[in-house]
């Protein structure tokens, strides 16, 4: 393989990894705090993308994209926050909470996808990117918008990490995730903290969705694929640390990018799932995991 092809595949993999990281961290935050798996995460990505698309219809151009992304992120934070009280909170005392949450989040996912279809129709759309053009990078042409997606994803992850480590709400969220009983005993408003966690997950999903929508075409059910990838990432990397799914996302993004080149688009997902199953067999707590899960 020529060196420029190698660089191109590698950079595409890293960009893919950045977007996977953003989505996987959203899943992981919900998994570590609420103790449930959020099957609506893909629909969060899709709804976020459509909201961003709608805003760019009123506000075109680069500023429009920035504005649309911000609006979608905030809108989805509110949606996620409120959904906690419909999807998870009513069932939290039930011994079947994990199973019930699978059902409620799947239901929410399907309702959101149908709503997207009703509001915006089934036809594919693309969001106008903020930047265009290509960089020459070791002989490979790298899209400016790909690079922007990577930088924003990394900045958002760093911001989220700072929020969790350095702010009082972040600390309280980690405490509630860690030991819900003790947090309740100490008078924390756990319901609000959990709602914030779901809100953050939805917001990161929206951010990823807006960028995916500017890189490819979107349709009402396009979130299913990112959800699957994020699931593979979370299982592959584990959730022992905030950074575990992030490393995993980049590794899988790069592997996917190379498998697409060598094996073709249709085999690439199979490679990822095979890797996931291998990790489940060899190290079920995830590649970077130990047996405990934290934020």
């Amino acid at each position: 393989m020529a060196f420029d092809t190698f660089v191109f595949i590698l950079v595409s993999g890293i960009v893919l990894g950045g977007l996977y990281a953003l989505m996987a961290v959203g899943l992981a935050v919900v998994w570590t705090t609420l103790d449930v798996f959020n099957f609506a995460h893909g629909a969060f990505v899709a709804l976020g993308a459509y909201v961003a698309w709608q805003v760019t219809q009123f506000a075109p151009g680069p500023q429009g994209f920035v504005f649309a992304t911000l609006a979608a992120t905030i809108f989805m934070f509110v949606v996620g926050f409120l959904l906690h009280f419909c999807l998870i909170k009513p069932f939290e005392r039930s011994p079947n909470i994990v199973l019930l949450a699978v059902i409620t989040t799947l239901a929410a996912s399907s309702i959101m996808e149908s709503s997207i279809q009703l509001i915006w129709g089934p036809r594919e759309k693309q969001i106008e990117a903020a930047v265009s053009g290509r960089f020459e990078f070791f002989g490979a042409g790298i899209g400016a918008n790909d690079l922007l997606a990577l930088v924003v994803a990394l900045a958002a992850l760093a911001g989220l990490a700072l929020f969790l480590r350095r702010t009082s709400t972040g600390r309280a969220m980690r405490a509630a995730a860690q030991n819900r009983e003790a947090a309740e005993l100490m008078g924390f408003n756990v319901a609000i903290l959990f709602a914030v966690a779901l809100g953050i997950a939805a917001a990161t999903a929206a951010l990823a969705g807006a960028f995916i929508g500017s890189l490819r075409f979107i349709n009402p059910t396009f979130g299913a694929d990112p959800l699957m990838k994020a699931l593979v990432v979370v299982i592959f990397g584990g959730v022992a640390n905030f950074t575990s799914p992030i490393y995993a996302a980049f590794i899988l993004g790069i592997i996917e990018s190379f498998s697409i080149y060598y094996l073709g688009l249709y085999w690439a997902p199979a490679v990822l799932f095979a890797l996931m199953i291998a990790v489940l067999i060899v190290k079920p707590e995830g590649l970077f995991g130990n047996r405990q899960k934290t934020l």
């Binding site: 009082s168 309740e184 008078g187």
Partner: protein, 242 residues
């Protein structure tokens, strides 16, 4: 003048169970009052209903420095200076020690940033909690240091009345001596203390008075020497070693 702290006819029931019934007590500023009683006699429940953490009383009055507080929220009560520790380990195990302290101060006092960090440092200094443990995950500490962390967390909340729920449980003798010293030190700094403890040498060693509960009711209250000779107490509690 109104007493420093007073409870009047405090009761709490769980369904048919009277965990606390008609308990009254007056505490002077600067006192250490020890609380004893068999398992399930309502000691921890008393701390719960005073602080409203996690629940309040069914009936009765709590008066702190002249004002009724039983209608206030848990946070308002903590901000007035009534702070408790818990009998069970309530450290957040995967969080660093300093985060454990900070999350509590942020929750109760609403302190933020550098101010919160200063409170955490001061409390570590007072209690003698080693500052080089600050960035260690709490779970990595031996139980003794986790107990120290719980006390440091309470002290960081600037208590005027400190409620300690079995600070010496599952500690060895030297460590119990450390608890003894730290209680004396906090008291000498002007903090009034209510102490629940099954380790009797500690309880009788630091307390000026003892309150003994049985099935939610007061069966004795008075100077330590009188109470431990009281035949009712001996029969209810001291006669049966825990």
């Amino acid at each position: 003048m109104a007493p420093f702290f007073e409870i009047r006819n405090l009761s709490r029931s769980f369904g048919g169970l009277k965990a606390l019934s008609n308990l009254s007590l007056v505490v002077d500023e600067g006192e250490i009052v020890g609380i004893a009683g068999p398992n399930g006699s309502g000691k921890s429940t008393l701390f719960n209903v005073i602080t409203k953490i996690p629940f309040g009383s069914s009936s009765g009055e709590v008066v702190f420095r002249g004002s009724r507080i039983e209608g206030l929220s848990d946070i308002a009560i903590a901000r007035m200076g009534i702070v408790r520790t818990f009998q069970r380990e309530t450290v957040f195990r995967s969080m660093s020690c300093v985060d454990n302290i900070l999350v509590a101060i942020e929750q109760t006092l609403g302190a933020r940033g550098a101010e919160a960090e200063k409170l955490a440092d001061e409390a570590s200094e007072i209690v003698g909690f080693p500052r080089n443990f600050h960035n260690v995950p709490a779970a990595a500490l031996p139980i003794f240091y986790q107990k120290q962390l719980m006390i440091t967390t309470a002290v960081a909340q600037k208590p005027k009345l400190l409620l300690l729920d079995e600070p010496a449980s599952s500690l060895i003798e030297d460590e119990v001596d450390w608890v003894h010293e730290v209680i004396k030190k906090l008291n000498s700094m002007g903090i009034t203390i209510l102490l629940i403890e099954h380790v009797l040498p500690l309880l009788t060693g630091v307390s000026s008075r003892l309150l003994v509960l049985e099935q939610g009711s007061r069966i004795a209250l008075g100077p330590v020497d009188d109470v431990i000779r009281n035949p009712v107490v001996v029969e209810a509690f001291l006669g049966k070693p825990q």
